[in-house]
């Protein structure tokens, strides 16, 4: 039982404790705020915000648990997150034919393999397994199944879903497997905490700035809620918050600003790309896994893009 929880992380990395305290502080603050506001102004409808806060609690518990528990639990819980995301995406996608079910099994089986490569820290296998091996294997399995109608669609849709939900998210797990380096001994766990916190905060900031000052739409057809004011305000706030969380990363001052800027833009891209996919399918929210948030996909769509970007920046700058 003692091995299950990684107490060292509190003793050696006081930074991590601070951020975890900060996360729950923000959550408690907003829960209390909405509760009080709801009592003061019973007429105003805060139900959407209350629901959102509820699902943030769930997300925070998942990721904080992933940070402080034993690495094995971290890998299993992140793998489950990939599984749930892939299950949701393949269920709602109208481009997955019923003839593809046998091939879909291979996509699900790829999840444990990919996370195992992350766990043993096999950088080369981890990087090539899905983009090369699965990209060959899935079309082959589709051909073996023998249903040729619309097979091209399936050949492109299934690997893309695998890339978004498994390849993208598994980079978060590989962050945890990164070893300590000179001058930065907080390790991969604090990097995981940093990227998840920054990406989710970026979502919130862009949403809030857009709600408060949004006027000029960027992509009216795809995502009517995305405005230039929201994007610019969100990017600036994210960079400022990221700068103060620099102690979680090995970056220098200039690097952290550039990295936060990149994450903020990538988070925006992930958001609008998944929005377009959803519009194409004709639904607003992707599911009901987290209350008030549509599906789990709505929360992790930006992470699927910012995760790999952040990972490769860190890896190329400090681990090669």
């Amino acid at each position: 039982m003692k091995d299950l929880i990684n107490y060292d992380i509190f003793e050696e990395n006081w930074e991590v404790s601070i951020v975890i305290g900060l996360i729950f502080g923000i959550l408690i603050f907003s829960s209390v705020l909405f509760f009080v506001l709801g009592k003061l102004k019973p007429k105003a409808d805060f139900s959407e915000l209350v629901m959102r806060t509820k699902s943030w609690w769930l997300m925070a518990v998942i990721f904080v648990a992933a940070t402080i528990l034993h690495p094995i639990i971290t890998f299993i819980s992140l793998g489950l997150l990939s599984f749930v995301a892939l299950r949701e995406l393949s269920s709602i996608s109208k481009n997955v034919r019923s003839a593809d079910r046998r091939t879909l099994i291979w996509c699900f089986l790829a999840i444990p393999v990919q996370y195992y490569f992350a766990y043993i820290g096999q950088y080369g296998l981890f990087l090539t397994f899905i983009p090369i091996f699965m990209f060959l294997w899935i079309p082959f399995m589709l051909v073996i199944n023998g249903d040729i109608d619309d097979i091209g669609k399936s050949m492109s849709v299934l690997p893309t879903q695998l890339m978004l939900t498994v390849f993208g998210l598994s980079h978060l797990a590989f962050l945890v497997a990164l070893p300590e380096i000179d001058g930065f001994n907080a390790g991969g766990r604090s990097l995981l905490l940093f990227i998840v916190f920054i990406t989710e905060m970026n979502d919130v900031f862009q949403f809030t700035w857009g709600k408060l000052f949004g006027k000029y739409k960027i992509l009216p057809k795809v995502s009517p809620n995305k405005t230039w004011e929201g994007l610019i305000g969100g990017v600036l706030t994210t960079v400022i918050v990221g700068y103060f969380l620099k102690f979680l990363t090995p970056f220098t001052d200039t690097q952290i600003i550039l990295v936060c800027f990149t994450i903020a833009i990538a988070g925006f891209i992930g958001d609008v790309v998944l929005s377009a996919v959803k519009r194409d399918i004709g639904i607003k929210d992707t599911g009901e896994s987290i209350p008030g948030h549509g599906g789990i996909l709505d929360r992790i769509d930006s992470l699927a893009l910012t995760g790999p970007l952040f990972f490769h920046i860190v890896y190329n700058l400090y681990y090669l």
């Binding site: 949701e88 393949s90 269920s91 079910r101 699900f108 599911g287 896994s289």
Partner: protein, 211 residues
């Protein structure tokens, strides 16, 4: 012992597996809880349909609930019969009613007998599973039962997605999001079996459209 087993199988193990593979969610759960005899009617696409409905019924009620199943499929051998009786609580009926003068058990009589004991039935009026997400025509049985016992309510249930998790003719389950929607317990409005069948059919279709 049996009650504990049913609780463990349906409320714990099956519920967990369904959550994992089907991400099952339920709408208007309170409608399924019913004291006394009732008939749960649902659309049928997969073997998981019965298990899903059973996993949401409280154990006290579950022990008095019998899914109606085709005898020739689930009761082929004696051991299979015993297993279905013990673990699924199934009521095995023959397909089709006996012709005049034939000395065979009447499925309608068998079902009425269970209802008269104060127990409940789970019935799939489509008869067999068919294509995923496609509803077939309803059989007459439900109309005849409700005609004979108009005081017993039926609970319509619409199941979505389970036919994609485990469809007919493919033993390998694939994860797919599913949902179960429960309608209010309803009494038949007519005495005519054909009209009752239409009423039951419409109540399930309206759950489908309100999805």
């Amino acid at each position: 012992m049996r009650r504990f087993l049913l609780w463990l199988i349906y409320r714990v193990i099956m519920r967990f597996l369904l959550k994992l593979f089907a991400g099952i969610s339920i709408k208007d759960k309170e409608n399924i809880i019913h004291n006394g005899a009732s008939i749960i009617v649902a659309n049928h696409n997969s073997h998981l349909d019965t298990i899903t409905i059973m996993s949401f019924i409280p154990t006290k009620q579950l022990i008095k609930t019998h899914p109606v199943a085709a005898g020739y499929y689930f009761g082929k051998t004696n051991s299979k019969k015993r297993l279905s009786n013990y673990f699924i609580n199934a009521l095995l009926i023959p397909r089709g009613r006996p012709k005049k003068g034939e000395n065979k058990p009447d499925p309608i009589e068998m079902m009425l007998e269970v209802l008269d004991r104060g127990h409940s039935l789970i019935l799939f009026p489509e008869g067999s599973r068919g294509e995923p997400e496609v509803m077939q025509d309803f059989k007459w049985g439900i109309g005849l039962i409700l005609q004979a016992r108009p005081e017993i309510p039926f609970i319509p249930i619409y199941l979505k997605g389970l036919g994609k998790v485990l469809p007919k003719g493919d033993p390998v389950p694939v994860p797919h999001l599913s949902k179960i929607t429960c309608g209010k317990p309803t009494l038949p409005i007519s005495k005519d079996p054909a009209e009752i069948v239409t009423q039951v059919h419409n109540s399930i279709v309206s759950l489908k459209n309100n999805y």
